[in-house]
């Protein structure tokens, strides 16, 4: 370390000596000089170095920012064009201009939205990109992730997440139907997950952690099913139509993370009200970030596949999707999970009440607090003695 500090000191010393002739020149002599003569005498190497570093930072910043913007433009350009053929309203209208997406967090999060279609309430496309304008932070984070992976719970990878929410409203339905809540046939968890991110998906999505992992010969080798009940795995084949799902999945294996139908939240609810509030049937398609038109076309085909599932689901009887047994299983699982949350809630509330009581006692009667502690200590000793006997 001392060698490093010494070399750093030498470097500073060299920097100071750059302008030694200038500083040694008497003040009177400098005063008589013209500006040009003074500039000639002064060594601008250090200042030039600083300017070069600043320009380099500016270049890296604008390069990183433009890279993210270009990626977003390509993705949303393609996906919005497709969504325009399906929805009446796509993207945003801001300050008198059509905006294909909204950006957040210095061009690292991009969002687009589409609504106005039979059977589908909305489609939200979210893209998360790395802060490429700050390569140093990316490098440090990667280094830390490499050595201390367990310190990071989130998946710091770029991804596209498409959320499709159904509304169970056919084209010519009365307006009243829009206000009706979704029937319980939409409330199930069933997902096709790429084997490359099975664990990550379960860690990052609360609802996936509640499912069974089942490998199936009906799926390409790169994927597995994660469903609440094994019988739910068949809904993809039963309700989906259009392109052959297996061919589509096989072609998408390089970028598709998962395709999941769920009604439970991604983050574990901490209270029962939070649980109730976040119940929302939807389909989530998660993919790696891609700008390849062929892969973007495959994403649109996957979205189309989900649309057909929701269309058929809307017209299908509840018993076809969730038969008596499956429905019971699904309800049981939800009740168990909710009970666990309520139990934890009660424990936390009890703990907080205890702490409050102790604090109140400390404030009102410090002697009683000391007596209580002594009593606890006596009990502890008594228990220890009993145990020893």
């Amino acid at each position: 370390m001392s060698a490093f500090i010494k070399s750093l000191g030498d470097l500073f010393e060299k920097g100071n000596q750059l302008n030694l002739p200038y500083y040694l020149t008497p003040y009177e002599q400098i005063s008589e000089m013209s500006i040009w003569e003074r500039c000639k005498l002064y060594n601008f190497t250090f200042e030039a170095g600083c300017v070069i570093v600043l320009l380099l930072l500016l270049f890296v910043f604008s390069f990183g920012k433009n890279t993210n913007v270009n990626t977003a433009n390509k993705i949303y350009g393609y996906l919005n064009d497709y969504l325009k053929t399906e929805f009446s309203t796509v993207a945003f209208y801001r300050k008198g201009e059509n905006t294909p997406y909204v950006e957040e967090n210095s061009n690292t999060f991009f969002t687009s939205f589409a609504t106005g279609r039979a059977y589908i309430e909305s489609v939200t496309v979210r893209t998360e990109l790395l802060a490429k304008f700050n390569p140093l932070s990316i490098f440090v984070e990667r280094l830390l992730r490499y050595y201390f992976a367990y310190l990071f719970t989130d998946a710091a990878v770029e991804n596209i997440e498409i959320t499709i929410k159904p509304n169970n409203v056919p084209l010519n339905a009365p307006v009243k139907k829009l206000e009706e809540p979704l029937p319980s046939k939409y409330s199930f968890i069933s997902a096709i997950v790429s084997k490359s991110c099975m664990n990550k998906s379960r860690v990052n999505n609360y609802y996936m952690g509640l499912t069974q992992v089942v490998e199936s010969p009906n799926l390409p080798i790169e994927y597995i099913f994660m469903s609440e009940s094994n019988q739910l795995n068949s809904i993809f084949k039963k309700l989906g139509s259009g392109n052959d799902l297996n061919t589509l999945l096989k072609k998408s294996s390089s970028f598709l993370n998962y395709l999941a139908f769920t009604d439970l939240p991604s983050e574990k609810p901490l209270t029962d009200t939070e649980w109730e509030k976040n119940l929302e049937p939807r389909c989530v398609i998660s993919t790696k970030v891609t700008t390849d038109p062929k892969e973007l076309k495959l994403i649109t085909e996957l979205i189309d596949f989900v649309f057909t599932i929701y269309e058929h689901l809307s017209e299908t009887d509840m018993s076809v999707v969730l038969s008596g047994d499956i429905s019971k299983k699904v309800k049981n699982l939800r009740t168990q999970e909710l009970n666990k949350i309520v139990k934890t809630m009660k424990e936390v509330a009890l703990e907080m009440a205890k702490e409050k009581k102790q604090e109140d006692m400390k404030k009102t009667n410090p002697q009683a607090e000391a007596a209580l502690l002594a009593k606890r200590e006596r009990r502890k000793k008594h228990r220890q003695q009993k145990g020893a006997m």
Partner: protein
């Protein structure tokens, strides 16, 4: 024989060998440095070749196992469940094992660099010349993918660290399910 026991034996042997060398001699130091770098290079190449083989084989068989949290993790979150269920593939599991070994190698290199270049010790450099290669060839992933051994018995995934005194291995992963 148990790798932990052979490691101790090797250490004692190398210690005796090191005592017979003149560690003040510049030529000796040079040859020890060469041996250390060469051995680590060989180890690195072995791991990289194994990595290539794992990717080439692309074994997507599902593997489920429970992994105990490290002491540090337990300290940081004592309320969390002790065991975490991991679901992965043979390919990703093996790659993870090789990556962990490579990480260990980097840490060892940094430690040796500090001890030799800053503290001026040469003996640890000699001791650490053979261990990485030995460790690499004893690694289950290398045995399976480089020597083509069957992933059964002691080499069954999830890999378990053999007990030092020949007792039952500490089986931290309780459930392993194979499906093709």
């Amino acid at each position: 024989m148990n790798p932990a026991v052979t490691n101790i034996g090797l250490m004692l042997l190398m210690n005796q060998f090191a005592k017979r060398l003149d560690m003040e001699n510049k030529d000796t130091i040079f040859y020890i440095r060469v041996a250390f770098v060469a051995m680590n290079l060989i180890t690195y190449l072995v791991y990289q070749y194994t990595r290539m083989q794992i990717i080439k084989r692309n074994d997507l068989t599902t593997l489920k196992y429970k992994e105990q949290k490290s002491a540090f993790q337990s300290m940081s979150d004592p309320n969390a469940a002790t065991d975490d269920m991991h679901i992965t593939t043979h390919r990703d599991y093996d790659l993870g094992q090789v990556d962990t070994a490579i990480k260990g190698m980097y840490s060892s290199l940094a430690m040796m660099g500090f001890m030799h270049l800053y503290m001026g010790y040469t003996q640890p450099l000699l001791m650490q010349s053979v261990s990485p290669v030995k460790g690499a060839f004893e690694s289950p992933a290398v045995k399976i993918h480089l020597f083509g051994k069957e992933a059964a018995g002691a080499l069954k995934r999830p890999f378990t660290a053999p007990s030092m005194f020949g007792g039952a291995p500490k089986n931290e992963e309780v459930e392993a399910k194979k499906e093709k």
